[in-house]
Amino acid sequence: MFCHPNRLQRTKQSPFSPSLSLTSTRAKSSYALLHRQTKMLFFSYFKDLVGREVTVELKNDLAIRGTLHSVDQYLNIKLENTRVVDQEKYPHMLSVRNCFIRGSVVRYVQLPPDGVDIDLLHDATRREARGG
């Protein structure tokens, strides 16, 4: 079941694109961001929020508060120091302190109000809409 995603990604890329690893932190360089801006805006945005306290609300109405540990290209989320918002309704979650949340089941990610640089986000969105 193990499959190196980079191998898959390279076959999709055109021969003229730089073969930069999407998951590398070097991708934070502006050139890489500009080139791969399509589909990467929220991934880049969440990467900047790593270490902040967020509340993830899932499609099954479960809401989990925790520190954002990591995120990936599918917007899967790993949280640490988690606690469930309505603990009594979900007794099975009592001893869960770290969890992996599949991106496809997230409804909302509630952020700290000072975690958002609105202007930067607007600019990035406009760039993506234009260049994507």
Binding site: M1, T23, N60, D72, Q73, C99, S104
Partner: protein, 128 residues
């Protein structure tokens, strides 16, 4: 799931850190599976060893043993690491047998159905 390169060790969302750990897996249909993670892939498909399903009805619970399970990733909601030093369930909950939990599940299902039919019958009253 990203593959961790040497730079990405702290940024990886790989399930590798959960290997051989006792996990709670929540599925889309509401089931809770508990087991040890044997392997996984980029779709969050997972293989759980010594898996059991924890059925909870009110204050009653039961662990039904399932053995070796392969879970398709699209059904996975959440994979949580169970902290062995903490109580997995609140102390007021009691463990019961499979037969009893099935009875409790049936009773809960019937109560929900009854609520549904009663609501349907009251709808014509337009009380709202």
């Amino acid at each position: 799931m990203s593959w961790a390169g040497p730079d990405d060790f702290y940024l990886s969302t790989s399930l590798a850190s959960y290997l051989d750990k006792k996990l709670l897996v929540l599925l889309r249909d509401g089931r809770k599976l508990i087991g040890t993670l044997c392997s996984f892939d980029q779709f969050a498909n997972a293989v759980l060893e010594s898996a059991c399903e924890r059925v909870i009805v009110g204050d009653l619970y039961c662990d039904i043993p399932l053995g070796l399970y392969v879970i398709r990733g699209e059904n996975v909601v959440l994979i949580g690491e169970l902290d062995l030093e903490r109580e997995e369930l609140p102390p007021h909950m009691t463990r019961v047998s499979v037969a009893e939990i099935r009875r409790a599940q049936k009773a809960e299902r019937e109560a929900t159905d009854l609520k549904g039919t009663m609501r349907k019958r009251m709808e014509f009253l337009d009380l709202d």
